[in-house]
Structure formats: structure tokens, C-alpha cells
Amino acid sequence: MTEQPDIEKLDDQIQLLKKAALALSEMGDQFPAVKKNTARVLASIKMMEINVSDVVRLTEPDITPPLQR
């Protein structure tokens, strides 16, 4: 049996990435190249949340917000 990944640690890194991407998105309001590329990064982060974070947060009241903006 292969060892299961440590999803809590993975989720910690995903949340750090998300925090940075959301900050970038906010800073990019006057900078289309930053704003729009960050939107794509946030969509990818959402895919990682679907793959990892939603399972980590199974016992918490809400899963990750449905939409990244």
C-alpha cells in the first residue's frame, strides 16, 4: 500500500498560495495583466481545494467558498 499524502500540510500551502493570490488580485485592480493572470491562478487554486482542502475541512461547517474572485 502506498503512503497517503499528508493532506493537512498540502492544505496549509494551498491556503498560503491563495492568500498571496488574493492579495495580488486586489493590487491588480489598475493592472489588467496582473488581475487577469491572477484570476487564472485563483481558478487553479480552487481546483487544488477541490482535490485536497475540501476533504481536510470535511468536519468543518462549510467547505471552501464556491468561487474564487
Binding site: K46, D54, V55, L58, I63, L67
Partner: protein, 443 residues
């Protein structure tokens, strides 16, 4: 090495069932709440039924949520905002992709996706392709007419996501595609069963044996063929490749996949979708294996135009056995068995055209193409089957006909008039075939 990993997601694909169900319930509540809060169409539907997101506490509550039918979508799309109508949950400026259904069952439905949704589409397909053995070393040829239909678009992006080299075989005719395959030596390919068989036939006409191309795996979609054993066998022999099934739809997403173990069924991606099987007569939810019903499905993470309890009209049944691949996602036995719209009563007997395909393609001496015509003379239904005879079988017609009639009687409980045609005389199809014609409606 990442390529040696069996699962795209080693956590979700092996999640214990109780956790998987808890995840589905939680995600259902979330998407139901999203649709309720953001789509005027959904809010109105749920208000009429007297149900709100706070009413969903346990799994059995989900069945109280009204289903959405395709016909409703067509009505909604007469309203603003153009062209999606009031089920759109995001401002129009956040829509990044337009697709539409093929219109096989009527007026096409328009589908909006945000960038996140589009990334989600390719994520669904990444589960499929990884499970079928696609790896970064693969060169994937996609002989598909990149257009307004979703078809293999997401397969293209998922192959890129995995790290494969993708060759878009877009605006080429079949012969040019075959020559491109011969030149580039791709290792994998995607297409409808009809087109995969048609391409092989064209290659042979050109004097090229497609079995020598080096294609190792083919992913099929759009028709049930890759789960019809006789059709799968013909494709695998023609291309000398493993052929895998997958089922998805524009309004739903890519919800299922056959894995490398080819268990005679397709896994539901239960981390991203909730599949319910509903008894066709009573509407009760079927949880036990072996009973056929129609699929009601929810895409748990699709945002711009949510798919919540969509009445897909696909006929399916649960498999009793777990898969040897180790995934905990349940199996649909034999793939999608047909659509409610295709299943029709002939001479008082329920007929699924897929059963005819299995018989025709398991017969030696017959080509891949066939056509079924149901008609009415007076008060009686008639059913005729047109098939193509492979060269060299001209002296065996009587024997083939007797065998064909016998097998059709066994598999469908009906008697047929058989018409034999020369190879190449019946219509060929590029994408989805229309081999079943019911002329009774015109009478």
C-alpha cells in the same frame, strides 16, 4: 516517479465510502445554496416546491429537491441575460466559454462556463485520462472538429494539464488525419466509437493497417459504443489499442470513466458528482445494484450554470462489485445503457437500440455500420435492420441471416426483416451516429 502513480488523486479516489458520502452531502448543500442564492430560475423552482438550502440535513433530503429537465433549460434561455437566461449565476463578463448541446433531442441548450468552470472541466477529464494510463510521455492525437460542441475540448486541455503532448487534429479530413497519425506516431487518441471505427475503415481502404500505428489507448465518448463489448472488441482489434469508455454531457460535465482494469463498467467520479438512479415507474431512488433506472445527476462544483439534480434520461444501473483498481468510486455496470428517449416500445416490447449494436458487431461477416427502421403498417409495428456484408461472405448470406435473426430474437425479443448491403453503402457518421429511425411518428 509521478508517472507511476496509479491515481490522479490518491486521496479522493480511495476515500472510504462514509467519508465520500459526507463530502457529497456537504458539497450538495453548498451548490444547492449557490443556485438558490444566485439563479432566479432555481430560486423560483425551489420556492414553488417549498424547499430551501436549510432543509437539506441528511442524504435522504436531497430527493426532495426538484429535478431540472432539459426542456426547462430551453424555456429559460428565451429570457435575459442573452443567450443563457436567468439560470446564469455570474455576471456575463465572468463567462469565458460558450458551448451548446448537440441538439440530438431537440433545440440545442446553450451552456456558459466561467474560467474556473473551464478549469474544472479539464480537471474532470484529468481524472479520466490518468485512470486510463495517459502520462506525460504520451503524444495525444485528437481528430475532432474543434467547434461549438464541448466534445473533446476538455480532453484536449486535460491532456495538456497532465503534461502530454497534444496534437489537435481539427480541420483535417479523415484521410489527412490518418496520414498525420502515420507521420507523427501518436500513442493515444480520443473520438466517438463511430468515428474510430470509420477511421480504421478508411485507413484500410488506403491500404494502411491502423493496427500498426502504435496507438496504445483510445478514449471514447459521445456514444455508448466503448462499453458495448462487441464494439469495443472491433475497435481494439482494428487499432491494436486498449479502448476506454467515458460518459459526460455539456450540461453536466465529464462525470465518469472506465479505468485501466476495464471492469465492464464506468466509475462515477463521486468526488465531483452526485449520481442518483431513479426508478422509471415510481421515481424512487435505487441504491441497490442490478436495477435499471434513469440518472439524476448533480455537478458538485460547477458554478456559472449549476447542474443540480439534472434529469439526464440516461439509463444506468449500479454494479454489485467493487473494482479491482482500488477506487472506492462506484461502478455503473456496462456504462450508459441508453437514453430514455431512445428506448421505445415495438410490438409491445421495450427496445434499446444498443442491444442491436451488440448483436450486429458480434457477428463475423458483417461490417460496422447498421441501420434500424421501425415503421407501422396498419395496426402492426414492423422493424427492419440493414447491415453491410463484408466481402467474401456472399455465399454465407442465408447462414448469417439465420444466425442474426436468432441472436436478435434472444437479445431483444423481436423478429426483424434483414436487408443486406454491400460494404460502404450505408451512411457514415463523423460524430454521433443516427442509426435508429422510428417512422411511426409520421403516420
Amino acid at each position: 516517479m509521478i508517472s507511476e502513480q496509479r491515481y490522479w488523486n490518491p486521496v479522493l479516489e480511495t476515500l472510504p465510502r462514509e467519508k465520500l458520502l459526507a463530502l457529497q452531502l456537504k458539497k450538495f448543500k453548498s451548490i444547492f445554496g449557490w443556485a438558490y442564492e444566485n439563479s432566479r430560475f432555481h430560486r423560483s423552482l425551489y420556492d414553488k416546491a417549498g424547499i430551501t438550502p436549510s432543509d437539506i440535513r441528511e442524504f435522504k433530503d436531497i430527493a426532495r429537491v426538484p429535478k431540472v429537465e432539459k426542456s426547462m433549460m430551453r424555456c429559460i434561455q428565451c429570457k435575459d441575460p442573452f443567450p443563457y437566461g436567468d439560470c446564469l449565476c455570474l455576471p456575463l463578463e465572468e463567462v469565458s466559454n460558450f458551448r451548446q448541446t448537440s441538439g440530438t433531442t431537440g433545440q440545442p441548450v446553450y451552456q456558459a462556463d466561467s474560467w474556473q468552470d473551464w478549469d474544472w472541466w479539464s480537471e474532470c477529464w484529468a481524472f479520466i485520462l490518468w485512470a486510463q494510463g495517459y502520462r506525460p510521455t504520451d503524444r495525444v492525437f485528437i481528430p475532432f472538429g474543434y467547434n461549438i460542441f464541448v466534445a473533446f475540448w476538455a480532453g484536449h486541455y486535460a491532456a495538456e494539464k497532465i503534461g502530454c503532448e497534444v496534437v489537435p487534429g481539427g480541420v483535417l479530413d479523415t484521410q489527412a488525419r490518418i496520414l498525420k497519425i502515420q507521420e507523427l506516431k501518436p500513442t493515444a487518441m480520443m473520438g466517438t466509437p463511430t468515428y474510430m471505427l470509420g477511421m480504421a475503415e478508411t485507413a484500410k481502404k488506403l491500404g494502411i493497417d491502423p493496427a500498426t500505428f502504435g496507438i496504445r489507448r483510445i478514449t471514447c465518448a459521445g456514444e455508448p459504443g466503448a462499453s458495448v463489448p462487441a464494439t469495443k472488441k472491433r475497435m481494439e482489434e482494428a487499432w491494436n489499442a486498449k479502448v476506454f469508455d467515458h460518459a459526460g454531457a455539456t450540461e453536466i460535465g465529464a462525470w465518469s470513466y472506465e479505468c485501466l482494469d476495464q471492469p465492464g463498467g464506468i466509475h462515477v467520479n463521486e468526488a465531483l458528482f452526485l449520481v442518483e438512479i431513479e426508478d422509471i415507474e415510481t421515481g424512487a431512488i435505487i441504491d441497490e445494484p442490478g436495477r435499471r433506472g434513469k440518472m439524476v445527476i448533480t455537478a458538485l462544483d460547477r458554478m456559472a450554470m449549476p447542474c443540480v439534480r439534472f434529469d439526464s434520461k440516461d439509463v444506468i444501473e449500479w454494479d454489485a462489485n467493487p473494482c479491482s483498481c482500488g477506487r472506492t468510486f462506484r461502478l455503473i455496470k456496462g456504462g450508459v445503457l441508453g437514453r430514455m428517449d431512445d428506448i421505445t416500445k415495438v410490438k409491445g416490447v421495450l427496445l434499446s437500440p444498443v442491444a442491436i449494436e451488440e448483436v450486429v458487431r458480434s457477428m463475423e461477416g458483417l461490417g460496422n455500420e447498421y441501420e434500424v427502421v421501425v415503421d407501422k403498417f396498419g395496426d402492426s409495428d414492423t422493424i427492419s435492420l440493414k447491415v453491410e456484408l463484408l466481402p467474401g461472405n456472399e455465399n454465407n448470406i442465408a447462414q448469417i441471416e439465420a444466425q442474426l435473426k436468432h441472436q436478435l430474437r434472444l437479445k431483444t425479443n423481436l423478429g426483424y426483416t434483414i436487408g443486406f448491403y454491400d460494404l460502404g453503402k450505408l451512411p457514415r457518421y463523423e460524430v454521433k451516429a443516427r442509426r435508429f429511425k422510428d417512422l411511426r411518428k409520421g403516420h
